[in-house]
Symmetry: C2
Subunit: 338 residues, 2 copies
């Protein structure tokens, strides 16, 4: 490289097999560049990404995938820093993927959080990768799922997928992990402030964080309350009854108890055969989901449809057309496309 090139980011195009060899031998640079390839929307990159994912697929699956969510301020990143370090101190390799398909404001918050993963950031057994916040939810979900496969092929034992708890992404993440953890803090009855409805019901466990100092009593009370409330829910498909535990990520207190819950859940799921069953169901779900999202985008990205939609929405609001008749007319418009 000569001096005049010093500001050019030099990315020599590799073949899929070259990326694969790098990943399988645990090369972090190869892994990072492969994830960038997966994130690319260029058609030639997409084709190569598919080839690469197929190569990695037989080497994937040997991890525990943990989804972690919680409202802003609950201390998710501090928790992941503490929990991840606990795992690496037990000779485990940990990959952290941070998803945030919502606003650029929230993106800033996750990137800000990332710098707070002080220990993991310099831990040779850890790998942290934020997802780009641009693109559709379906696109982010696809990227994250394929990144999981790559990280597993690279030998990571734990894949932690972090989301911000305020959008639709939690449902997507819930459909790609083995264990879903909700991080909360104890407060004056507004523990779930900022958390969307439906998220608590997906949780396999709730960690009540910042259970230290003056907060300890409140955190213990919240633990009892939520523990009781979760028992009122109908049982989950796996038969697992969600658990609640307090912790203080800042002082590494109680992190081992959270791990014990995850370990117990994992053993139960493997023993019952639910673990493999759930992974298969998730993979099949994502095939159907990808097809549906693709059909929808072919439809709604057609210019005639884009032009007509506001008019039909207006007519529906004015009650001059029924929802069904509007759908039929739009479908006709789509079929008669030139």
């Amino acid at each position: 490289m000569n001096a005049s090139n010093k500001n050019v980011i030099n990315v020599t195009p590799l073949k899929a097999s070259e990326y694969f060899n790098g990943i399988i031998s645990g090369n972090r640079v190869s892994l990072s560049r492969a994830i960038t390839l997966i994130e690319s929307s260029l058609e030639k990159h997409q084709a190569m990404a598919r080839e690469l994912v197929e190569l990695c697929l037989p080497y994937s699956g040997n991890s525990i995938r943990i989804g972690i969510t919680g409202a802003p301020g609950a201390g998710k990143s501090t928790f992941i820093d503490s929990f991840g370090s606990y795992l690496t101190s037990h000779n485990k390799k940990v990959a952290v993927l941070a998803i945030d398909p919502s606003s650029s404001k929230a993106k800033g918050s996750i990137l800000g959080d990332k710098t707070r993963m002080d220990r993991l950031a310099i831990d040779p057994s850890a790998f942290i990768r934020p997802s780009p916040s641009s693109g559709s939810l379906g696109g982010v979900a696809k990227t994250t799922r394929e990144t999981i496969i790559l990280c597993e092929a690279a030998g990571f034992d734990f894949i932690i997928v972090e989301t911000v708890g305020v959008g639709q992404s939690e449902i997507a993440v819930h459909s790609m992990v083995d264990f879903f953890l909700l991080i909360m803090i104890a407060g004056a009855g507004d523990e779930l402030q900022g958390i969307k409805r439906g998220i608590m019901e997906m949780a396999d466990a709730i960690a009540i964080n910042k259970a230290d100092g003056d907060n300890l009593t409140k955190a213990k009370a919240a633990r009892a309350e939520f523990s009781h409330a979760l028992h009122l829910f109908p049982p989950s498909e796996s038969g697992w009854v969600p658990r609640v535990e307090t912790c203080s990520a800042l002082s590494d207190m109680g992190i081992d108890n959270i791990w014990k819950i995850i370990e117990e859940h994992h053993l139960a799921a493997v023993t019952k055969g639910y673990f493999d069953f759930n992974r298969e169901q998730q993979s099949i779900f994502w095939m159907y989901d990808t097809i549906t999202e693709n059909l929808k985008s072919s439809f709604f990205n057609q210019q005639k449809i884009k032009d007509a939609l506001p008019l039909f929405e207006r007519k529906i609001k004015d009650k001059t057309i029924s929802s069904y008749a509007a759908a039929v007319e739009l479908l006709e418009l789509f079929k008669n496309r030139k």
Copy 2:
């Protein structure tokens, strides 16, 4: 009609405008026959049904739509009989639509239940109509939504939509009503036995039924527990905090309290502008949902896709193809259809 015709069911085809005139003047026979038209899958019936719904649309909307669900045995039909009679005794007209898109076994159960609505069945201010259990969920949802429009045009003040609480239909019903009520019974910690996850979180209120005799103490305890648990949920979009009340439909006890909750919810929603906003959002949602369901059925009903799906599902389970690559191949197959 001469003697030789006495066993022939004589259904003269009417025009849409004739159905409409009958409905608008409150003729029950016209309403019933119009609903049968809406339920028909024949293309000529569908076209006429659309015309009829358009005619009724400007006369629709003036009702309170209440979704009622609960596990088998919770006493839904007894509750509806009591609650509906309470409303008709206050000079209100009540239509009851029972949806059950699940098994024919469950269908039997709803039809069985219907005969238990003793009072409403002979009440001139009430109209009871079970939905056919055949057909897709999307089809049943469409039928029910259009039936609501017809019933409103016929002057009903309350539309009660009943589901069995074990399937996907509750989510559909939740998207077409103003108020969603869950009927439960107090038991030994298994109050929600038979209720799918996610249903409790949709409820605007929970009625703990059969709160009489030996059950009263248990019911009151359950009321306190669920009331407390519901406060732990994140607030709903409307700002409404779900309520819990006990009642005994069999002895008409506490039914007025349930009504007071619904009335309070209605007043709050109207005052805040949430009522109209929610109805508009629901109508627009159903346009998008109808389009998506139609796109999916065009795809998945194609013979080549039907033939190929089991193979791709097998490959995914064997990890010889990724979810995304499988979706891409199936989409290619679909596009190249002859």
